[in-house]
Amino acid sequence: MRCLMCGELIRRDSFTELFQKEDVLCPNCREKWKRISRSFRFEGHDAFALYAYDSGFSECLLQYKELCDEALKPVFLYPDIGMLRRMYRGRTLLLLPSAPQDVEYRGFSHLRGIFEWLKLPVMEPFEKISGRSQKNLGKEERAAMRTDIRLKNGVRIPRRVVLADDVITTGSTMKGALSVLPEGLDIRIFACGLAEAPKERAETGGMMRFLHRGTGFRDSLK
């Protein structure tokens, strides 16, 4: 198989490589992504992000979203499909909305492309009211977009859901989506990339939480 970014042949002939997870990127390209696998609390819900939103990740996301390179849709979740399927078993993925003109320009729903690999039920229950794209907007303008989201007419939301987005930057879209969801749902939040260090840690955390306590490890993660 060839790497979807650089086109190099992905070899699995050294001893250590035999134990690595199967991937659609070569080790060199994957190395540029900073993996954080971080659990945190977002507006009172458990949230999880896989990568830091930095150079390697954003380069891929840019090529996928802005240059419309559909072939890149597996790169974001491929090595973690098994883990994420186990984590979100029995839940429905609710994809956050994109501006209609962006979808029209790309010709495909980029989030559906990323998340269809999990083979979990997927819904796109939200829509943008103004249809404005978030591209080139500042932090405050993005925060104002919070009220720009509504539920599509006649959508029925299942009880156990995962709000899924490609990247959380200011979190305003996510907050907007949370505010229009009905009460009493069991909500988790997932993003492939995370731009800002979250302030609260997850309530659940097991071994990792034990490690974080008083070892200075928490600071090293920031």
Binding site: Q63, E70, A71
Partner: protein, 380 residues
């Protein structure tokens, strides 16, 4: 299947998305659908009077001859101007460009390196005072139209089938060399003929010259008439090479450039030399590169350690050149010739010293010296 932009035919790079097939080899320039028809880029017509040009100094008879022959062939067939480093290649194509502009045809000057674009567009604007010369490169993309367009080879993707004359300067330089995407884009940007300017034509160009599809014009003589300095080659173990280098540096008070193969080696070498004498260091990783180069130019007798990033398009008056580890695999014949060509480029000091230091005998350095000897012999 064939990509209309980069001319790729390798099926591995094609992907069928929701809109149809597209090419992934040139995806960094935006998605291009294979089934859709691409229309040529629309540019404004050439303004009258833009073809008038002035030269700062008159051409030598040899330059005049090549310039004239090139202008005769331009528009009819592709031309390779094979001129030694420092022969004044830019001046040679002014007549051809003026001829095409007079016929209201679009002319573009494409260069692999960004810093050369800005420098050259200013020079061309001075030569063509009535023409709108537009520089198009990273950071300068607001205006992309003009009578004469000077751009990086990357920016040619904006001009699908737009140019009647495309002048490719240093097509054997990074990143154009060996980059099939950029080659394809240059091919599709040109609907007329091309002129290649280089001191070191690659194998493909030589093959085209042989089979007659490319007209080669040679200029083996610099304007001042002096030969290109021949490199002296010293083969010895590393420690001795360092001693030789130190002695070479100490006994000169000219600007001295030391080329090394890798960025790491450049840093180590600069640190080592600073124990004995002040020196600057330039690599592609250095952010204050322009400041270091400017400081080196100001000094009458500075020392500069550089990687191949400085091998082309640089004129430091009266410089002496040393290539350390000239047998390293990073260097090829073209880059060795280019580095040696940094010496003796001005009328004031038409000769300079070029020293190749190597740990083992290398066919490349021998070939480089032989090539320089050959062009010097032809020049007499």
């Amino acid at each position: 299947m064939k990509c209309p932009r980069c001319l790729n035919t390798d099926r591995r790079y094609f992907y069928k998305g929701s809109r149809g097939w597209y090419c992934r080899r040139c995806i960094s320039f935006g998605r291009i659908m294979l089934e859709e028809d691409s229309s040529p880029a629309v540019l404004s017509p050439v303004t009258s009077g833009s073809e008038e040009y002035v030269l700062k100094y008159p051409l030598t008879p040899y330059q005049k001859e090549v310039s004239h022959q090139c202008a005769l062939a331009a528009g009819e067939q592709d031309v390779l101007i094979n001129a030694v480093c420092g022969a004044g290649k830019t001046e040679l194509i002014l007549e051809s460009a003026a001829k095409m502009l007079a016929q209201k045809k679009k002319v573009c000057f494409a260069i692999p390196r960004r810093q050369v674009v800005l420098e050259l567009s200013a020079r061309l604007q001075a030569c063509f005072p009535n023409a709108a010369v537009t520089a198009v490169c990273g950071g300068h993309t607001d205006v992309t139209d003009g009578d004469l367009i000077v751009c990086t080879t990357h920016q040619l993707y904006r001009y699908y089938r737009a140019f009647d004359l495309l002048i490719l300067d240093e097509p054997d330089a990074f990143p154009f060399r060996g980059n099939p995407v950029l080659h394809g884009i240059a091919e599709t940007a040109c609907r007329g003929t091309k002129i290649y300017l280089t001191a070191t034509p690659d194998e493909t160009m030589r093959r085209k010259v042989k089979n007659g599809s490319l007209l080669e014009l040679k200029l083996n003589r610099r304007p001042h008439g002096h030969p290109v300095p021949e490199p002296r080659i010293i083969t010895a173990p590393s420690v001795i090479l360092l001693a030789v280098l130190l002695r070479w540096l100490k006994e000169r008070d000219t600007p001295r450039m030391v080329f090394v193969p890798t960025i790491r080696e450049a840093e180590l070498m600069a640190a080592f030399l600073r124990l004995f004498l002040p020196c600057g260091c330039v690599t592609s990783k250095k952010e204050n590169r322009d400041a270091v180069i400017a400081a080196f130019r100001r000094q009458k007798s500075g020392v500069l350690v550089a990687t191949t990033v400085m091998e082309r398009g640089v004129t430091v008056p009266g410089a002496d050149i040393c290539v350390f580890h000239a047998d390293h695999s990073v260097f090829d014949e073209a880059s060795l010739i280019q580095m040696a060509g940094r010496a003796g480029r001005t009328f004031k000091k038409p000769d300079g010293d070029v020293l190749f230091l190597q740990m083992s005998r290398s066919t490349l350095t021998d070939r480089c010296r032989r090539r320089i000897q050959e062009v010097n012999a032809c020049a007499v």
